[in-house]
Symmetry: D2
Subunit: 397 residues, 4 copies
């Protein structure tokens, strides 16, 4: 019986060529699987047909947008997940949901191998392969670009030679990955890290310097989940989509950073994530109101580790599950409204309301109604500082 390979298929030139390339390299039948995580672009049926036209024995397409939003983006919001304090893990979050569909297809079709279109120097190869290994330890992984030296030029030649129904125009100067949670751009001239990005690289966001009216939005959370925008009920997917539009129109969510890749190198990356940044900003502000201090302090460390793990491709790892245990418990009371002004590239919280609030007006106020017992402070200070004071007596001596 012929071996079968499931291929992560995008509909573009590279993975279209992969279908035939893998068949030639391995003699296997190729099953193309395309997963919609909100990347936009062509219709899924068109993509499906192209895979078949390019030689796939089977082609499957899945609308995973709600699944992606609910099971991958939402945990990231709950964890305020920002790698290096900035990057909301756009691509890193989409890989595990794609992996899930690839593995399901492999099991359904009796494939022994999963193929993806990544190169050998990025993070995504790790996220695909470690993910696949963690969901189906018996599956093999191949990456034609990395393992079979399928360069861009060779891919174009292959497509032309075989008459594949796919445009082989010269490569765009941009290498792009996008989904509903954001968009990543790499391009040659930004590999000189002194060069500034130009407007041309952006698609999800307008120029923040352009004059326009501010947009004020109220986001309602229930136990960490965004459930309404300006009072209208939304799914998580809808929340992200609406905020992509509104925050994107105000130039919110652009990032320009030098990033530490898992494979040990630093790379320059441009991201746009208007919805993600708006949601996380609002969620953090609501946590400031509803999460107790010591839990908040510890959660910041957990958030960092969560983001690193997911960045590093360990979504399906035991540590990720245990951190989720913490994060979910910590989000139990993160309910209420956040008012946020989107304008000029900024997402600024200026109002919070919550019936789970720990902000106590009567303890906080300096006006009438103050219930804070200031006579307690003397004792607190004395004992809080005692171990430092004892050390000082020694160290100054």
């Amino acid at each position: 019986m012929t071996e079968r390979v499931v291929l992560a298929y995008s509909g573009g030139l590279d993975t279209s060529v992969c279908i035939g390339w893998i068949a030639e390299e391995t003699g296997a039948e190729v099953i193309a699987v395309a997963v919609d995580v909100g990347q936009g672009g062509e219709d899924l049926d068109v993509i499906r047909q192209r895979a078949l036209d390019c030689g796939a024995v089977e082609a499957e397409v899945a609308d995973a947008r709600d699944e992606f939003a609910d099971e991958y983006c939402l945990p990231a919001v709950k964890a305020n997940a920002l790698y290096q304090g900035q990057y909301p893990l756009v691509s890193a979050l989409s890989r595990p949901v794609i992996v899930k569909h690839l593995v399901a297809a492999a099991q359904k079709h009796g494939a022994t191998t999963v193929a993806h279109g990544c190169t050998g120097k990025g993070n995504d190869q790790v996220r695909f392969e470690v993910g696949i290994n963690s969901l189906a330890p018996g599956l093999k992984c191949i990456a034609p670009v990395r393992d079979y030296a399928m360069t861009r030029d060779k891919a174009i030649a292959f497509a032309e030679a075989k008459g594949l129904p796919i445009a082989t125009t010269k490569k765009s100067p941009y290498s792009i990955d996008q989904n509903v949670f954001g968009r990543a751009v790499e391009t040659g001239f930004l590999e000189d890290i002194w060069n500034a990005p130009i407007e041309d690289v952006y698609e999800y966001t307008q120029n923040p310097a352009t004059a326009r009216e501010a947009d004020e939005v109220v986001i309602t959370f229930d136990a960490g989940v965004p459930v309404a925008i300006d009072g209208r009920k939304v799914t998580v997917l809808q929340a992200i989509e609406e905020l992509n539009k509104r925050a994107g129109a105000q130039g919110v969510g652009r990032l320009d950073m030098v990033e530490d890749r898992l494979v040990g190198i630093k790379s320059r990356e441009i991201y746009e994530a208007p919805g993600a940044i708006a949601l996380i900003t609002a969620h953090q502000a609501l946590e400031n109101v509803t999460v107790e201090r010591e839990l908040a302090r510890y959660k910041r460390q957990v958030e960092q580790r969560w983001a690193e793990l997911v960045y590093d491709g360990l979504w399906f790892s035991p540590l990720k599950r245990a951190l989720d245990g913490f994060v979910n418990e910590a989000n139990q009371h993160v309910s209420g409204d956040i008012r946020i002004v989107l304008h000029g590239g900024r997402a600024v919280v200026n109002g919070r309301k919550s019936d789970r609030s720990l902000y106590d007006f009567n303890l906080a106020t300096y006006d009438t109604g103050d219930t804070f017992d200031q006579s307690m402070s003397k004792g607190f200070i004395e004992i809080f500082g005692l171990s430092s004071k004892i050390a000082a007596r020694r160290d100054l001596g």
Copy 2:
């Protein structure tokens, strides 16, 4: 011999009244000490004379601006210190330098007690008293507002009865603390955390929504220290002052947050810190280029603890010293130029240059010259993910 009390003197109504109030409560002689940490306002000589006119037996004023910048603000920049990920510790940084001057004055003048004007429900009382205890474990601390019930109304009545040379106009609606590193504002109507701040609360920053030309600035660091701006050599103090002006003019550095106080309550705070935010943003970006990944990941945790410790008033603690050991070592190679665009409330880094850079174009590029050996990745992924894979074999079983 009469006891002596050193008072942290600001020149304002409250601490002017404190001079006589303390004398009446304790029978001690009061020595007023005013420390210039860049808070602006009246001339130090005027303040000094007022203290004497209000009954101080001695009055000392100290220009501690460079000391504050070099020994307190700079370590905060090296540690990218942002409490709750936002607040650059403006007031928290100034307390220890003031404490140092108070303690020196107490030792010089044979005082047994130090007094300050804080209330009993804020962080500053802790910072003053734990700091004093740590530099001079034998000194006593008093706070007339907290310990002798010196309310605002009683202070006004006292000033008028004694004919003190100080205005007793009705209290401003704002409670303000400011120094060269930033400005903190509290005010009654913002104690309703749903209310948005109004332009009137700001002084260090212009309205970010006002149309104006962007300002591009290049900040040069040497081992974590800002040493030049646009190629002109600067002291740390000059760097902060110039960036306060330029970033402030662009509306950069406004913060509106609900904060976890050390005394256990949440409070609403408005901050402006244009220079601090610009410097820390630039410093972080340069670290991204010059600090190795594992060190960078660990440093983020150290930064959080550093900020919490300083916020909590433990500047002079043994842990703070040991964390500084880490932070200084980590800053050894943080040298180079950062280009940053100040505009519309944003401080956006868009260029980095460093001869200590760890960014390696040839490893990062996808173009000609790529030296990354992609054949290594297969083995890396297999072993990097092995422990997760073994766990998966069990957990899926």
Copy 3:
């Protein structure tokens, strides 16, 4: 209506005197509540009657031994909780369960206040009062020894004057707190930290230096819960009790340490916790076999924070609940058998067996059957070490 005070009652001299003392100081009626956490000693009914004889208007006794083992000791075992890496939190664990019963009694009897017998310089006052505040924020707390200057001498005089039915013999040289999870001893001559403890201070453990036969025990865990000993099913309480006996007989579980109290001072403490130490040792060894590496590494940090929180009296805090979310998830697969040799003061694990094991003989063995693909290592090493290598190229240059 007369105010009512619930008193944490032990049956000893101090708390017996407290009944009348509180009544005199406050005019309130006193309700005595004794909680059995396995401290041994007198019958609960005897204690109950004595409380009434000493003037309590009500007296309640509760056998909380299983509750203590299941809900307080067990989480500590799952968290391998050892404060300062050594102390299994014996007293710190018992306070919250006692607090729960005190608060329940206060609510049942309409009391406004809870009283306890602690001094003002230890950890237990914090654990009692913060616990009570967290379960019933409206209750007041009093501690006659601390708040009403009820010294030992005065207590004896009071007891004699009132003819209380309690022995007023001279105080034992030892200050002891004990429960089923262990025993704590403080005594004057050990306050000189150069002095060694003498055999007389120990009760739960035999002298480890005495020659005797070793005892080998197999402890079975299911998801972190000890469920059998030598194949016999046990409750958690039974597991602790049996191991107290068997490990205690071998001198296991003695601790002599200088400890950092929450109130800022260091104190010398002697502990005996044979069952706790045996259980935690076994549990750790089983985790080494069943918990994936990254989870195991992170859990060590969580364990430390868990132990500090509980030591610091924050059992009922939000952070504690979130850490439990992590710890429980991490214990999901901690199932299997640990063989442990108890002898000469040592508890030495020398065998592990688990059907949830992640130890893979075929990957680990150097003999026939080795399935580890060594060709993967080259790539792993190259990329794992790449960021260090790039930094080295710079730093050595």
Copy 4:
């Protein structure tokens, strides 16, 4: 010009065969380098001659025992470095010092490559190669056992065919690595993790169950450095050697654990490290007396990361250097005497003395002389527990 390879040479069969094997595989000249880290065994001159007899073009031997103790073991003691809370990093510490000598030899002799005898599934290959990459990024690394399939059987055949002057007796059942800081043993029958070790596997330690007299030792530290034993001045090397003898004679320092290797698998390891365990135990006890609480709590996390980094072969990494900055600062006051009883496999601290002590008898005592101001506690407790109390009011509502 012929290429040159520097080989880490032990004098044993495997590395003796490597000399000729590498020459045949690569055509290079082989330079043998043996480093004495206290592993005992043959005289260095004998080893040197054997290398030459086996075909090395040059052979160097270095007595690195003091260097190893001072620059590698001592930092581990200061960091109380115990991987997984148990293993004192015996082999992990020796690799970097050997690497330093290999790199120096390579630079001296113009070699392009360094070779070592490790297999492809252990930690040591990583430690060698990442270390070499970090000290000399231009050097290549080879491992004949891993890269050229040099199995034990083939090695014996090679040695016999070439008449190498080395015994080719059947392999010992034990795979051993040892140095002055300890000894590691792996062996086939212990790969079944239910099997207990037998006395035969141990060499550095006597059976702890054998009856004998206890040995009491006083170790003096100065700023974290062991400087005297029983009042006699010692070097670090002498301290380790003497404690190896005395603690080893009492059966102290045996470990039996399942360990998480860097390469992703779990392995069963037996260690003996009597001197290391005695020193770390004493050092920890002295820290308990001389290190302030918050510093002590944070240092435990730093220690864990330090041990993981060194275990993982990242001795020469930037993070390691920054952690050392912390650890050295934290050890500044760790000076004084620790009395420790070595007996029956236990190393029990029972006395501490230090003129840098933070233990304050007058604050700690419950007897006459108590200076602790208990009236401060009420305020401390109220404010310390306030954030939990506010959360409780919400959560119980």
